[in-house]
């Protein structure tokens, strides 16, 4: 029995000497290496895990040769490197989460920007339509007042009403002419424009000194101008329909392209009008940057003809300057690669008479209209 006990003790001592029993620190380290997350840390920070494994080997070698201090230092190193690897894996997770949050924020900001832009467009259009409705109502009232006064021959309209009616008739006639010009640019025939032209002729005749006296027939002039405007709208609508005009998406894209190019765009009854400060001071040549921006917009939206107008003062000299500058702008755009056949400079008075030097160009994309 004593012999068997002695043999067992000898085997135990031999096992301990050979390292058969695991040291607590070594076992703790082995547990750490087997912990969940180490595989992920190995992918996120392979260099740190490799350093930890090397320190672990060093610790095992030190233990084998009985160097306790070296084993303790190497074990500490292995633990620190492994912990650093785990931390690095968590940092990588945080980084991915941050990147995802940044992408989501960017997408939300872009969506918000698009919605805000769309809302502004809608509000602008709604406001314009409301203003147009008010103008229509006022016009109808002025027309009714003038027609009611007309049978009272010899009686004079109050001077304020006459002036209002004359202004309204003039504005209607101008709009009719602009709409007709857009319709002609889109290919409207002479036969189509004839009714509107006839009403414009009637408008001018009504404003001329009348045979019965010096009082022009204001009510007739108003009625003729209104009829001319309505006829011109019909002609323009028909011309657009024939052309297969671009849809609302193309209109929105045109407005957006103009904004990106640094010029402004507005949707009106004549189509999309793109505005640019095309001339600086008294320069005879258009501004190169404005020409570049307008050419960009023209190239990216190639459907239909485009009227090139310059805003100018009401007097004859202002109108002449506006026409001259419009022609020069057309030449510059042609030189920039826009087909000359697509561009038309107006021969009539400026679209939006202003008290100033003709500097702002208005390019009317007649084919692009809200439906």
């Amino acid at each position: 029995m004593n012999r068997a006990l002695r043999l067992a003790c000898a085997v135990c001592a031999l096992l301990l000497a050979c390292g058969g029993a695991e040291h607590p620190a070594t076992r703790l380290l082995a547990d750490r290496f087997a912990a969940p997350g180490v595989a992920r840390a190995r992918r996120a920070a392979p260099d740190l895990v490799a350093a930890a494994e090397q320190a672990r080997s060093t610790a095992e070698a030190a233990r084998a040769r009985g160097d306790t201090d070296a084993e303790r230092d190497a074990t500490t190193c292995a633990r620190l490197y492994l912990e650093a690897a785990l931390i690095e894996a968590r940092r990588a997770d945080e980084e991915r989460a941050r990147a995802a949050a940044e992408r989501a924020a960017q997408a939300a900001n872009e969506a918000a920007h698009n919605d805000e832009t769309a809302r502004l467009d809608i509000e602008e259009t709604t406001t314009r339509r409301a203003a147009a409705l008010v103008a229509e109502t006022e016009l109808a009232r002025a027309l009714a007042r003038a027609q009611a006064s007309e049978p009272r021959r010899g009686a004079r309209l109050p001077s304020g009403d006459v002036e209002d009616a004359r202004t309204a008739a003039r504005a209607l006639a101008r709009r009719a002419r602009l709409l007709l010009a857009a319709a002609v640019a889109l290919g409207a025939t002479e036969a189509e424009t004839r009714p509107a032209e006839a009403q414009l002729t009637a408008y001018q005749a009504a404003l001329a000194p009348h045979a019965r006296g010096a009082e022009p027939q204001i009510a007739d002039a108003l009625a003729a101008a209104d009829a001319a405007r309505r006829a011109a709208e019909r002609v323009l609508g028909a011309a657009r329909a024939r052309l297969g005009a671009p849809g609302p998406e193309a209109v929105a894209a045109l407005v957006e392209t103009a904004r990106i190019a640094g010029v402004t765009a507005q949707l009106g009854e004549r189509g999309v009008i793109v505005y640019a400060e095309a001339f600086r001071g008294t320069a005879s040549a258009p501004d190169a940057r404005a020409v570049g921006a307008l050419a960009t917009v023209l190239r990216s939206h190639p459907t239909g003809p485009v009227l090139v107008e310059l805003e100018g003062s009401r007097d004859a000299a202002g109108a002449r300057l506006a026409r001259t500058r419009a022609t020069r702008l057309v030449q510059a755009l042609t030189a920039a690669g826009i087909p000359a056949s697509r561009l038309t400079a107006p021969t009539m008075e400026p679209a939006a008479p202003l008290d100033g030097v003709a500097a702002r160009a208005a390019l009317v994309f007649s084919a692009y209209a809200a439906r």
Binding site: L48, A51, A55, D69, A70, D73, A74, T76, C77, L80, Y81, E83, A84, I87, E88, R90, R91, E94, E95, A97, R98, A101, E102, A104, A105, Q106, A108, N109, A111, A112, H113, D115, E116, A118, R119, I122, E123, T125, T126, R129, A130, L133, E136, T137, A140
Partner: protein, 124 residues
Amino acid sequence: MRPPTLSREESAEADAAAELAEIAAAPGLESAAGALLQAREALARARSRRLDGDTSGAARALTVTRAALELAGRQAALARERTAAAAAGRAREVAVARAAAAREALAVAQRVRDGAARDGAGAP
């Protein structure tokens, strides 16, 4: 007068001390305080062993210093990343709220427009 020449061990200690100071000055220090303390202690141990003539012991203590500095650096980086991630999360919430408000405002504008169009269609 020639400048004093550092031994290899002294240079390594100086490098570790400089790195320690750099990490201690970086943002996110709070989360790395434990590892930094460990690095300082290991560095002091390396100096003490070197002065005692225990070259291999000093080298081992320097290795521990390096490992502790590595951990401190990663912990500080994690703290910075968490701060940035939290800021990005807040920015995302703000953007999402803005997008929702913009969507709602657009819907309102569309309703107003459609209502005006209906009214306008009935007008003379």
